[in-house]
Assembly symmetry: C2
Homo-oligomer: 210 residues x 2
């Protein structure tokens, strides 16, 4: 995502002057935050990869969203009504900025540039999130596992401007992301290979159609 601000510059700025923001580091597999809809937490992922996951009563894990550089997340985007716990888990070492959403609108004591800039960029950041969620809905509403796979591959192909691209997930995680059973997905992948829709070498996928 091409943000119109330089996060590094921000960090230098706020560490000296801003009292409204926390900067935290998380190790791989640590839980960054759980959504409990009390704190109105709003976060920006500065580096690393993380997933918003849900475990349901049947033991299914679902990757609701996948976050990378400059993605935003937090319970402020959720009306938590479900019984299932939602939590954001670090997939690699992560650096995260954590705010309270309310505080974003109030200037901090020092009226730091960090806050000014953030207020300015916020609509754009949130708009990006809407776009990416719409894409997610588009994908999840596909009726078959095959259509979900091809839809996702198309997305990656469009993003990378190439017929060949690398999956940002393990296949296990991909199944949890597309919300399908892993073995069924593997079967479908095999068929897609056999029918010459795709070529697959590890996590490298090549689209062979159109």
């Amino acid at each position: 995502m091409n943000l119109s601000f330089d996060v590094e510059e921000f960090i230098k700025e706020f560490e000296n002057s801003c009292n409204k923001v926390q900067r935290k580091t998380f190790d791989k597999n640590q839980v960054i935050t759980s959504y409990i809809q009390k704190r109105n937490q709003f976060c920006i992922l500065i580096s690393g990869n993380a997933d918003l996951v849900r475990y349901d009563l049947n033991g299914n894990r679902t990757i609701i969203e996948h976050f990378s550089n400059n993605d935003i997340f937090g319970e402020v985007f959720y009306n938590v009504t479900t019984n299932n716990e939602l939590s954001v888990e670090a997939r690699s070492k992560c650096e995260v900025l954590i705010y309270s959403y309310q505080n974003i609108h109030y200037k901090c004591k020092q009226n730091c540039k960090f806050h000014q800039k953030l207020t300015e960029c916020l609509p754009e950041l949130i708009l990006d999130k809407v776009t990416s969620l719409n894409m997610r809905v588009e994908l999840l509403t596909k009726r078959s596992t095959r259509d979900k796979l091809l839809g996702y591959f198309n997305l990656l192909s469009t993003r990378t401007l190439s017929k060949t691209f690398k999956l940002p997930f393990s296949l296990t995680d991909l199944a949890d992301y597309l919300s399908v059973d892993r073995s069924a997905m593997m079967r479908e992948l095999k068929l897609l290979k056999e029918e010459n829709f795709i070529k697959k070498d590890g996590k490298m996928i090549t689209l062979l159609y159109k």
Copy 2:
């Protein structure tokens, strides 16, 4: 959705002074807009009901989103990459405000209150959209038709603060919204009734558990 502005007041205002906004009325079943990612259209539904729908190559119709009063929509929220056409169809008579997203940020000649207020409310409006999209993803990632139905019923129950509520859809549309086959959904509804999870009378549903 509880907006912090009064749309009626706005309309009076802008009709006299604002040259950046179009106000249009649509009859039932008319196409309000199609997403073609050229015009950066941004719309607010003032009255009526409308759906964002997709028709895929297999003839399946999917209701991607359902809009009612004060909901926002438009191609600006989409990176249209799919082959499938997306269009917003009026379910009843609709009044719609149509902008170009860029124009929202520039003050119009008269610097009308309308634009001022909109700029002010925009982050809140978009945030609402994120929340509702997250709910949608939550629903669509449920693995079974039963869980989707119960998840959706829970949502409506929470919204109306009541165990009894009216479906805002026909059952045909509900199936398209949950992205499942209608007859399979009907079968599941029947089972839910037989197993005393719900009571159903036309579009009125009552939850019998918890």
